[in-house]
Symmetry: C2
Subunit: 378 residues, 2 copies
């Protein structure tokens, strides 16, 4: 039998009711990783705890010195930039909360079979680099330009299509200041780690992770909308395969709790002692600043306004919130819900779509609060 590229890809599919995760989903979960939620204690996520999603392989980059970023297409002057050259520009550092567009996917029913995220696909880092608009200015954008296409060095097959990872931004986003897009060469003050795009990546504050092209090697200014696989086929909000759908762009609001107390190893159920418990967590939204966070300790029946830390001036980073809870013996389900300035909030019913994108369904944290004196079962 002759073998072709299309043979390596299975069609996209939904899991059957009650179908457990398959070895293909596990293979992705073992490679990629979320941020353990207790890491939300840190304003900036410590190295190694920030979520990572790699579509294909982490590319082999033997030498940063040899890396070149090209800027071409509808520009007056094509650029061919070394890292040394990029570092001669004034550096900008931005604190950004980044989240995978597929975060929450594994909770959906039916479950789209792909990277099976629960809610941990998030992290906050300080990214340092050159504003993209500075590089585009230097190249000189032609008057007929409409889209800017970014190409990474990661190479693979997806649904039968062999590709380098590519995404685009509309010209107004690429050259805008809210957010200001960065071509970043440092994360938390150190060179990018291999899994975060070493030596160069795009950072688009407020947008989901698919826009943040890693191992960035080319920027092409185009006079027509880009219709590559990751733009037109993947990362669309649609309910049926026939729909064109709408593109996945900015991060929907989300609040998450640091699960209180301590866990059971296998069930991850939390144990909390009766009495006063400070619940805390983080909240973010890519569309507009977070204005309030509500907390429920009775599985969403009643909601209480949490204390939100004062505006810290990092528009694109999560904000800390807290709420005092008086825990009584019994079973509880804890939740938090973010609201943003544009009036967006989180749903209590799953916002289902075929790709499992932007599922910001309210988190549920089951907690057992044991009796103070466990002398036997009632």
């Amino acid at each position: 039998m002759r073998r072709h590229l299309a043979d390596v890809s299975t069609p996209s599919r939904l899991a059957s009711p009650g179908e457990g995760l398959g070895m293909d989903e596990l293979a992705l979960a073992a490679r990629n990783h979320g941020m353990p939620l207790e890491a939300m204690r840190h304003d900036v996520t410590p190295p190694g705890l920030h979520y990572v999603l790699t579509h294909y392989d982490i590319p082999h980059v033997p030498s940063e010195t040899d890396w070149r970023l090209t800027v071409s297409g509808r520009v007056r002057r094509a650029l061919n930039l070394s890292l040394e050259r990029l570092r001669t520009h004034t550096a900008v550092t931005t604190r950004v909360t980044m989240e995978c567009a597929g975060n929450g996917r594994a909770f959906l029913s039916p479950r789209p079979v792909s990277q099976p995220w629960l809610v941990e696909a998030v992290g906050t880092a300080e990214w340092t680099g050159v504003p993209l608009r500075v590089l585009l200015d230097e190249a000189g954008i032609a008057s007929d330009a409409v889209d800017v296409v970014f190409t990474g060095a990661d190479h693979g097959v997806e649904r039968g299509v062999e590709q380098d990872y590519q995404r685009s931004l509309p010209l107004d986003v690429a050259t805008g200041r809210e957010p200001e897009v960065l071509v970043a060469y440092a994360m938390n003050g150190a060179p990018l780690p291999p899994q975060h795009g070493s030596p160069l990546r795009l950072v688009v504050p407020g947008w989901y992770g698919m826009a943040q092209v890693k191992w960035l090697r080319d920027i092409t200014v185009a006079d027509a909308p880009f219709n590559g696989f990751q733009q037109s086929v993947a990362y669309r909000i649609r309910e049926t395969p026939e729909e064109a759908g709408t593109p996945v762009t900015r991060i929907a609001p989300r609040a998450l709790l640091i699960p209180p107390g301590f866990p059971d190893f296998m069930s991850r159920t939390r144990v909390v002692s009766p009495g006063t418990v400070t619940l805390e967590g983080r909240a973010w939204s890519g569309g507009a600043p977070v204005t309030s966070v509500e907390v429920s300790t009775d599985n969403g029946v009643s909601w209480h306004t949490a204390d939100l830390e004062p505006d810290h001036g990092h528009r694109w980073a999560w904000r800390r919130w807290s709420h005092i809870w008086s825990a009584a013996p019994g079973d509880h389900v804890l939740s938090a819900r973010a609201h943003d300035e544009a009036g967006n909030t989180q749903p209590l019913e799953q916002p289902w779509n075929l790709g499992g994108f932007a599922n910001n369904l309210v988190q549920q944290v089951p907690v057992i609060c044991p009796d103070p004196a466990p002398t036997g079962r009632a």
Copy 2:
């Protein structure tokens, strides 16, 4: 209904035939993470790519300055050591390949339901600290001592037992030089990251991960064998729950390939062009030095001796190997197999046990090599 600690734990169990992974296994897979196999290109695993397993939560350590390590029990002089004090001892740095005892568990049939590792639960780091025997010498071991017990700050429930994570080493291992056990405060020249035990952990070169107690806060010398949960209940090789079993100790030999070519996103199947392909990977064994590696490109039917890099003097770290393969169009399954000086090697049939420990079954990497001119299906 009154609630008790035991209510949070489900009994240990085996998955039914064909049962997919459950949400409990996924919750562990989302928190913990393996090392993407392409990271075997690096002699020392870059930060964030080394595997991580946390039994409970990563403990909150507000200040390293306040951290104390106590050494007590059957000693002449109890110690209470700050990090500053530990750093006054001569520092030792050892390169160590560490592997989770549960690596390979998710391939077992039936599958023990726990952290569902494939083969990625491994990594290599340079650990810096004080030899444990130096601290035990300073404390003065009593003549009736037999076991040394290590307590971490991570706290949780496991099968109904509330516990701080605790493990022990026999006195001869704790004070030995092959391996030399370290109380480590640095990883790859930097302070330990939170998930790797900040500020202090045990490093037992050649042993599986369960021995490498993180967030180390107490060392107790005991005059009787320790029989805590992680020593007597978990981490035993047994086929039935009734058996006492044998303890999990040193790392069994394993060789892994860096999957060649490029992957399909979902199936992770590899695509390799016809022609000469350099296969490479790493091999290690905790029991004795690796002496040879064999490679098969026909699903284990025939085996070829790989080129093993010369002894680099890092006894406890993996060794690089390579093999030239002439890839012909068609389907292939690639494997590698390590042999060590003690005559141990890897099985071709699963070495099954109830906990899913030490499964060093030979890796299988399916590869599709397409026809050079894909003009249609035959």
